[in-house]
Symmetry: C2
Subunit: 344 residues, 2 copies
DNA sequence: GTGAAAGCGCTAACAC
DNA sequence: GTGTTAGCGCTTTCAC
């Protein structure tokens, strides 16, 4: 399977390989007539540059690498967010002729930094996107920064860092969710906190508090329960809250998995959703639309965030000095069937 | 960011670059003492081969490409199977020092074969894994075969092809599911067929018929309804079946999405699962465990299948002539909460 | 504007 | 067993 090379095209067009190279790379200093002649030859021979040769010679690989927490390491992976991120990055790649390398990894792994080093040395991606919570794991970001590979973090809640970051306004939208529940008539709004290691989830709690404050409702510690982001922990928390004789009329969980857990507990206890209790989540995982009743939640613009992250990397073009940029893509509330007016 | 090269290691160890290359590639004909000396130098300099240079010189990229139907093209992507495939391939890659390139694509796209061509010319993967239903799309497989890139299809139901294939025993397990339902006491077992374009799903219908036959139950056309693999079509089918005055006591859907649709319809009609109707699906998507009641379904060994596919590609090593192999990884029934004895 | 020549870091073929 | 040499297909530098 012999493939067309620059030389073939050059011969076919009657020019030097450098001229063909100029055309391929859209460099200036090519006469219009030459350009057309070469373009024609490229099309006729169906020429496509060889990534490896280009990479070897130029240090650019046209490869983006996406690193995220390995879902295989968990028991109940809700994989929707990974697909969304991939979707966003792939979109940017497609329009810019880049390819995507994926590399899930377990940050608890001792050899993580050497693994990342190895990946970079091996594939030499032009840039790396690291998703939260790994983007908040210095062992990982340091390892990448040490190689000089451009890096963009994808962090729901955090903005200021030593590298570029795409984030969203978790705290604000959480506050909006509380205000929405209040507008329905709820006053007893419980909150289920997520894994404390996950900063993004922490900022949702801040939003909850801000939302209550804005509505003039005092924060009641008894209405705040800790979970660990899993469905199971949500179910447990739901059981605790819903078995009380004076139970909350609305429960807002810091992520959808926990909200689904709460829904399970309500179903098991025979409590109607949203007739007797309203439930809201955060993330808008695919599942949120599919369960019955469909879950009211916050839609994270994850695909857009990932796409922007990829564009940061691709647009850098030849910038010599790394520029640290940051961007916030706002999320928004998705009202579905799991929330309604409080009973009575 | 200067990286260590073969030459650096050679100098450090006082040997030629070829000797270092031999050590790196585990080639024979290196004396034990030399090997140790070189290994030490490699470790000390933290040397790692440059993929691009290796690829350019050897035509091996240590890259595997996974191609599947683009979930972004659909409205309600149940992305679990993609993550599972990725997981399996990644496992094989990790242990063999390969990297994974993902390339979802829409087979309805006119330019699909040129897109694939471009991908291959660009990244030159050592092998490509194509997931169903794309593995049954000649436009795609032909385009890949034309480049001479080794190819493995991942097809739930089909085995014989012009390329290597990893499949599973859909038909047999479907029959087993029917037998299981019969063993609970069910006699009126409805079946919801999937998209007819999806061959794997068709073979599940064969299994349904075989299972009935084995149980001595005649096939009743009124109990067979067509869907299109989506939740919505399952809900519609469920409505039709469950509103009948003499409704089936069990419903077996050709995939989980449709089974979830049936569950929705039952909930809307106030019909208890599994008290009044048993529901079973096929695929064991993540969601299956998470809904309430948890769905009885067939677990597809997708991660294992994908891992094996990657191993086919990696193990080929230097085989000159492509060998067409095929392997069947059996699936198995997952009994959960959505099935039980028929009412009365 | 265009081209010639020198590598990028590695493997392959062959010599020693 | 080990080293030498010539590319792989491209970009870069610099000459024209």
């Amino acid at each position: 399977m012999q493939r067309t090379t620059l030389e073939d095209v050059a011969e076919h067009a009657g020019v030097s390989i450098k001229t063909v190279s100029r055309v391929v790379n859209k460099e200036p200093n090519v006469r219009q007539a030459t350009l057309e002649k070469v373009s024609k030859a490229i099309a006729e021979l169906n020429y496509r540059p060889n990534l490896s040769a280009r990479n070897l010679a130029s240090k650019r690989s046209h490869l983006i690498c996406l690193i995220y927490d390995d879902p295989a390491a968990y028991e109940l992976p809700s994989s929707g967010y990974i697909i969304k991120m991939q979707e966003g990055v792939l979109k940017a790649c497609k329009t810019n002729n880049y390819d995507l390398l994926i590399h899930p990894c377990n940050y608890r792994d001792k050899h993580i930094s050497s693994e990342i080093r190895s990946l970079i040395d091996h594939a030499r991606p032009d840039g790396i996107i690291v998703a939260a919570p790994l983007s908040n794991t210095p062992r990982i970001t340091k390892a990448i920064e040490a190689t000089g590979t451009p890096l963009v973090g994808l962090s729901p809640g955090i903005k200021t860092r030593s590298h570029s970051t795409i984030s969203t306004n978790d705290s604000d939208v959480s506050a909006q969710m509380v205000e929405y529940l209040v507008s329905l008539g709820h006053k007893e709004i419980a909150f289920i906190q997520g894994d404390s290691g996950h900063k993004a989830v922490a900022s949702r709690f801040d939003g909850y508090k801000a939302g209550l404050k804005a509505a003039g409702i005092p924060l009641s510690q008894s209405l705040v329960i800790s979970g660990d982001n899993s469905i199971g922990s949500g179910e447990l928390a739901g059981m605790k809250l819903l078995k009380r004789k004076q139970r909350p009329t609305a429960i807002f969980a810091a992520n959808d998995d926990m909200a689904l857990g709460v829904m399970r507990s309500a179903k098991k206890l025979g409590i109607d959703i949203p007739g007797e209790v309203s439930i809201a989540g955060y993330d808008d995982i695919t599942l949120a639309r599919l369960v019955y009743p469909a879950l009211t939640t916050v839609s994270q613009p994850l695909a857009t965030m990932a796409e922007r992250a990829a564009m940061f990397l691709i647009d850098r073009n030849g910038e010599q000095h790394e520029v640290i940029r940051s961007e916030i893509i706002p999320g928004h509330i998705q009202v579905r069937e799991s929330t309604g007016k409080p009973p009575h």
